[in-house]
């Protein structure tokens, strides 16, 4: 009986810009132009400003629970730059705000969502995004379905990217989506932001596999692990994956190794379970610092520009807050009016009597007492 190797696989790790801002010119060739890096840095900074403002809004009682994006901006911005706005679809989780606004979602929608208002999910016409996904891991199947529709319609030069964390890869729907996408060979990019923590559960308690990227091997899917705080590596990996997708090569998997510098959400306190030393080490790998070092090393960035950007970001975000808070209360009818395209009679009755003594019952019920007295 022969016993031979049935399968062998390896996982590449890609880093182009290291923690110290040192750039690998060979690997980084034909990635981002200087102008693109400046733009990307500005988007990352604006995202951080939005994030910190959102945190303060929650702390001052002006917004509900909010999950900070802090530390993961390079992953969001690098991936968003590699996808084509207005053409591709994004199926996000909730820690890639920059990708959403870079692909056309008005920034105040993000705040509205966390202010407990569904109008923050009322994605405008022409913006190809699914709303922020609160349940973990269910939306990768939607991304796969959207990509499947693209394939069925033979749409050229279109792909989907879906974002999720390391914890999401424990969900059955993650594996379902990977299996469907690879079996059907649809144009979708699975982009895992491995930020090491799923609320309080560290990655080694989440999975036994030393990389997340290797999970894609089971689906014979091209897969790579990249430094998720390295704008260039993220961009390169997503760009390659997108190219493969639109050329009919099917789905790809990317594990972007990054770190959640904040708590899971404003309702969480990571000090209960996370070592301060670990956090301190990652604070030094902050993607904003690293990208700025790169720009400075190439004389593309000055203190003056930084000051200007800081002011611009503050102005943009304060306008966004003003817009979100100025939207006004939603109509109570909205509770009902989007249940179906056309409301059935019973729902109309419930809506039209919600503030009356009949408590949502049929109007005849309200008159019952009178009828009984007559009898």
């Amino acid at each position: 009986m022969p016993r031979r190797k049935a399968y062998e696989a390896k996982i590449d790790y890609l880093q182009i810009l290291d923690e110290n801002g040192k750039f690998d010119a060979r690997l980084g060739k034909d990635t981002l132009s200087d102008e693109q890096v400046i733009d990307a840095y500005e988007q990352m900074w604006i995202c951080r400003e939005l994030d910190e403002t959102a945190f303060k809004l929650q702390r001052s009682g002006r917004m509900g629970t909010y999950p900070q994006n802090k530390g993961q901006e390079a992953a969001a911005v690098g991936s968003a730059l590699a996808m084509v706005r207005g053409q591709d679809w994004l199926a996000p989780c909730y820690r890639e705000n920059a990708a959403l606004f870079m692909h056309g979602l008005p920034m105040h929608y993000i705040l509205l969502h966390w202010m407990g208002d569904e109008r923050g999910n009322q994605i405008p016409e022409g913006v190809n995004q699914t709303p922020l996904s609160i349940p973990i891991g269910t939306h990768m199947l939607h991304a796969t379905g959207i990509a499947w529709a693209m394939k069925l319609r033979k749409e050229k030069d279109k792909a989907v990217i879906t974002y999720f964390g390391d914890g999401a890869t424990s969900e059955g729907d993650f594996h379902g989506a990977m299996n469907f996408a690879s079996t059907l060979k649809v144009p979708v990019v699975f982009f895992c932001q491995n930020n090491e923590w799923a609320i309080s559960v560290p990655r080694h308690e989440q999975m036994n596999s030393p990389t997340v990227a290797q999970k894609a091997i089971a689906y014979e899917m091209p897969t790579i692990r990249v430094d998720g705080n390295d704008l260039f590596a993220v961009y390169k990996a997503v760009k390659d994956a997108r190219e493969r997708a639109v050329e009919g090569g099917g789905p790809s998997f990317i594990e972007a190794v990054t770190y959640r510098l904040g708590d899971h959400t404003t309702a969480d306190d990571a000090r209960r379970y996370r070592d301060q030393k670990e956090l301190d080490a990652w604070l030094e790998k902050d993607p904003l610092i690293r990208t700025r070092k790169f720009l400075e090393s190439k004389d593309l960035w000055s203190e003056k520009q930084q000051k200007k950007l800081g002011e611009r970001a503050k102005k943009i975000v304060s306008e966004v807050v003003k817009t979100a808070e100025g939207i006004g209360e939603p109509s109570t009818n909205d509770i009902f009016d989007y249940t179906f395209a056309e409301l059935c009679d019973d729902l109309k009755t419930q809506r039209d009597t919600m503030r009356t003594s009949s408590l949502g019952q049929h109007p005849e019920q309200a008159g019952l007492r009178g009828q009984a007295e007559r009898v």
Binding site: W89, E118, R119, N121, Q122, I123, P124, T130, P131, P135, T138, L141, H142, A143, T144, G145, I146, A147, W148, A149, M150, L152, G172, D173, G176, A177, N179, F180, T183, L184, D334, Y338, T339, F340, A341, C344, D345, D346, L347, Q361, H362, E364, Q365, L368, Q371, A372, V375
Partner: protein, 324 residues
């Protein structure tokens, strides 16, 4: 007009809608060349191509979740879940996503899809192939739940469901799949969702049922004394429920028996009774009776006929209600 079984009528509806609208695609386990385990999709893969009648991996949540994505992208998916017992793994995608997207996005993203699911007992199938979970899905806002009992209704209601802009769960009573034939027009037609059907008119008592139980009720009516006049209503749509037709009938007869295969507690009968007492309290001559499955696990098939409401048990309920 052709005489068709329920299976053939559903097949014809699928065929005509696929012909009419190329956004319509079928996905599910074994739906391709095999035509599905009940042969409902027979011949469609050959006619429209395997890409429109797509065999999927064995993953109900994957079927439902990718159907949600297809619908988001303006396709008209028809996912098939092989048996109602296997809706469990797909439950999250159906009730937490398909049902919620219109509300969640204030109308920006909608899910026009029709989930086809064989339902109910009586065919001597293995475990989890014979349940009746319709009330569970009627309880979830954002879903329309249908259960036709005849070939004619099945064709018209399925076409309505496929064209509906919202997610529909289309339950097919498998006991009726090949139990009889009736005339079904070749041309396409629709039957309005949310409309019950008065199967036979009567004066003394109203029986409300749906799915395969319609035929147990008809059998019961054949065995009743000639001077007892029963009005039989086939609810057809579980949600939105046509309470107007039921109330009109109960106001006339003053007595009502509800029959369903599903367990008694929190079954749809409970909701019907609440609605009947809201609407017809002063017309009622007797408490509304329920003849239902029991609050037990559906037994394996050796005992399934003891579990399912049959003509004799329904007859007892009718007599008790009339004698009150």
């Amino acid at each position: 007009m052709a005489q068709l079984t329920l299976v053939q009528a559903i097949n014809q509806a699928l065929d005509q809608e696929m012909e009419r609208d190329e956004r319509v695609i079928i996905l599910g386990e074994d739906v391709g060349v095999n035509g599905g385990v009940f042969r409902v999709t027979e011949g469609l893969a050959e006619k429209y191509g395997k890409h429109r009648v797509q065999n999927t991996p064995l993953d109900e949540s994957g079927i439902m979740g990718t159907a949600v994505g297809l619908a988001m992208a303006d396709m008209r998916p028809i996912p098939e879940i092989q048996f109602e017992g296997f809706l469990g793994p797909a439950y999250d995608q159906l009730v937490n996503h398909a049902a919620r997207f219109r509300t969640r996005t204030r109308g920006a993203i909608t899910i026009p899809m029709t989930v086809r699911v064989p339902v109910g007992g009586g065919i001597h199938a293995p475990e989890l192939h014979s349940d009746s979970p319709e009330a569970i899905y009627a309880h979830h806002p954002g879903l329309k739940v249908l259960m036709p009992s005849t070939p004619y209704d099945a064709k018209g209601m399925l076409i309505s469901a496929i064209r509906d802009p919202d997610p529909c769960v289309f339950f097919e009573p498998k006991r009726v799949y090949r139990s009889f034939r009736e005339e079904v027009p070749e041309d396409e037609y629709t039957i309005e969702i949310g409309k019950a059907k008065v199967v036979s008119e009567g004066e003394d008592l109203t029986v409300v049922t749906w799915g395969a139980s319609v035929f147990q009720c008809l059998e019961m009516m054949d065995e009743l004394p000639e001077d007892v006049s029963v009005e039989l209503i086939d609810l057809r749509t579980i949600y939105p429920m046509d309470i107007d037709t039921v109330a009109q009938s109960v106001e006339k007869t003053g007595r009502c028996v509800i029959v369903h295969e599903a367990p008694k507690t929190c079954g749809l009968g409970a909701e019907l009774i609440a609605r009947i007492q809201e609407r017809c309290f002063l017309s009622l001559e007797a408490p509304v009776q329920r003849v239902t499955g029991f609050d037990t696990v559906m037994p394996y098939y050796k005992l399934e006929l003891d579990y399912l409401p049959d003509a004799a048990r329904i007859g007892e309920g009718v007599k008790a209600c009339l004698a009150y």
